[in-house]
């Protein structure tokens, strides 16, 4: 099964795994401080600390955040049966950010004491879940999910969330304000081992669970009724996906902020190269997402060196034009690429 013009998924898999080590090495070596090889061998030296305490956790975070964003993007596209769905576009990320900001501004004291580092992921999860369920409910028609309604609802929810975050800034003290601003642009540069490990611990089971749904998601692409007739208990599948996607987006938003376009562009790219079969598309998207977000993080450090761009700006600068290009491409007569 390899229609003309498609790359074999195995080949792309091998290619991406080959590219991963050099990209990881690049991410470890590039930064405002250039590391010297001798110093790296000396535990406790400055370069050693930069590598192990700053760059390594940051690499881990960018890998898992990229994989999770791309995989949740692919999942939500199958769930809504539309290649234009994206956690950022339809407001899931904004809902997650709003809830995280609210938790920070209003619940900073006792809530933080009770939940510790889990406060923000938990709040972001609840925010993301609310928005996903809301969009699914709003865009639902007897014939399935309406794409136009879904995108319009996303626009509205994005604005509402942005406005609510704006309002909350007035209530926040100086420290929270800085933390809030840090989120909204998407940022990995304050990563420590705690957040990197937390994301890894959340991401691994989530990714395993999402990847298991590949075959059933293929059937869902045929249509909701068709999937039911092929033996899929669609309402349960949809509920599982909404919870998993909200958890994934919540985890990334709470630890890395708003990072747009990865969930949209990466699955699209893989679909263009290898076709829409989710059994291949989902693992490949995760891999390519990890790779590209790590590269974006390297760019974020290089472009305005020695300062740093928020990574959300980099992904928007690269992903935005790519998205426009895809829309143009579709307009010229070929559907979904």
């Amino acid at each position: 099964m390899n229609p003309t013009g498609r790359l074999s998924p195995h080949l792309l898999h091998r290619l991406l795994w080959l590219l991963l080590p050099p990209v990881m090495a690049l991410s470890l070596l590039v930064g405002p401080v250039s590391l010297s090889p001798e110093q790296l061998m000396t535990p406790g030296s400055r370069d050693f600390l930069i590598l192990f305490e700053l760059r390594l956790p940051r690499l881990l975070l960018s890998l898992f955040a990229g994989a999770l964003l791309a995989l949740t993007g692919a999942s939500i596209q199958a769930l809504f049966r539309n290649p234009l769905a994206d956690p950022g576009l339809i407001g899931i990320s904004a809902g997650a950010a709003l809830a995280a900001v609210a938790a920070l501004v209003f619940g900073g004291g006792w809530l933080l004491g009770a939940l510790g580092p889990l406060l923000l992921p938990l709040a972001a999860f609840i925010g993301g879940l609310t928005v996903t369920a809301l969009v699914a409910r709003i865009a639902r028609t007897p014939r399935g999910i309406s794409v136009t309604t879904m995108l319009l609802a996303g626009i509205a929810l994005n604005s509402i969330a942005a406005a609510a975050i704006g309002v909350m800034k007035y209530f926040s003290d100086d420290l929270s304000l800085r933390q809030v601003t840090f989120w909204l642009l998407g940022n990995l540069h304050r990563t420590d081992w705690n957040s990197a490990l937390l994301l890894a611990v959340l991401a691994l089971p989530l990714m395993a669970l999402l990847l298991r749904e590949g075959p059933q998601l293929n059937l869902l692409l045929l249509g909701e009724q068709q999937a039911r007739l092929l033996g899929v208990v669609t309402h349960r599948l949809q509920r599982r996906l909404i919870v998993l996607v909200a958890l994934g987006v919540g985890a990334v938003v709470s630890l890395g902020g708003l990072i747009g376009f990865v969930g949209l562009v990466v699955p699209h790219l893989v679909r263009l190269l290898c076709g829409p079969d989710n059994r291949a598309l989902m693992p490949l998207s995760a891999l390519l997402g990890a790779l590209l977000l790590t590269l974006a993080d390297v760019l974020a450090r290089l472009l305005v060196s020695p300062a740093e761009l928020p990574i959300g700006i980099v992904t928007a600068l690269v992903g935005g034009p790519f998205f426009l290009f895809m829309i143009l491409y579709r307009q010229r007569g070929r559907l979904w690429l």
């Binding site: 390899n2 229609p3 692409l221 045929l222 033996g231 829409p276």
Partner: protein, 258 residues
């Protein structure tokens, strides 16, 4: 498969009125009727996608709505009219998706899919992007997908206008495959608009009008000029020539004047 006293209400409007229907193994039943008569609704109820307001659909004496989706999918294959697939799968991939309920190994699934591609004259299109096909070709691919769902446990096949967009040759090619499945022991229900095809391939016919069975029974008894004229509200002539039923329709000049 037996349906008894099927009633169905939608938004206060009654679409089906106490319909009885039996689909016996080895029989191909055709449903004929004007637009909006409740044909597709009937198929939705028979397929278990919707539960009837009253009455029941039973397969081997068991009420269908008690079945789990996977259990139902192994015995019942259904082609609905609406096929909203919007992703660039290849033709072969679409057909192979149909075999999912059978739980085949990848190799078996590939062989199974290829058999149905060949039977429906799709082998040359196997690698083509589904989204770039014509309407009739897409319909043939979706039919192949639904037929690929039929395995050893399959009992019932329900199809809503499966050949409406196809050219003549492919209409016959596809209907012959359905006839073959019926002859092999499956209960097949077809919604059609073409009277000649219905008479040629069907064993039994159900005439559905305003949610009621106007008549049902073997083709020669039910597909009469009187009943068909009453069903479609136009004149229908039926002649028996060279062993086949021939149909022609006519309307009076002032038939559609307000």
């Amino acid at each position: 498969m037996i349906a008894q006293g099927l009633e169905w209400h939608r938004q206060g409007r009654q679409v089906l009125h106490g319909l009885d229907l039996e689909l016996a193994a080895g029989t191909l039943t055709v449903v004929l009727g004007p637009n909006g008569a409740g044909k597709s609704t009937l198929l939705q109820l028979l397929s278990g996608l919707e539960s009837p307001t009253s009455g029941a659909v039973r397969l081997d004496g068991e009420a269908l709505h008690g079945w789990s989706e996977p259990q139902r999918a192994r015995q019942l294959a259904v082609m609905t009219q609406d096929q909203p697939l919007d992703f660039p799968f290849s033709v072969e991939e679409v057909v192979r998706l149909g075999a999912w309920p059978l739980g085949l190994s990848p190799q078996q699934e590939a062989d199974h899919g290829r058999r149905w591609l060949q039977r429906l004259d799709l082998a040359q299109l196997a690698g083509r992007n589904y989204l770039q096909l014509s309407g009739g070709e897409r319909q043939r691919v979706q039919l192949a997908r639904v037929l690929a769902q039929c395995g050893e446990q399959s009992r019932v096949l329900l199809l809503d206008e499966p050949v409406s967009a196809m050219d003549l040759r492919h209409q016959h090619l596809c209907l012959r495959q359905l006839r073959r499945l019926a002859d092999a022991g499956m209960a097949v229900l077809l919604i059609l608009h073409d009277l000649a095809l219905a008479a040629q391939y069907g064993d039994r016919v159900l005439l559905l009008k305003d949610g009621r069975a106007l008549a049902q029974g073997p083709v020669p008894e039910v597909m009469t000029a009187a009943l068909l004229s009453q069903l479609f509200e136009v004149g229908v002539d039926v002649r028996f020539e060279d062993g086949v039923l021939r149909f022609s329709s006519f309307v009076a000049d002032d038939a559609f004047q307000a």
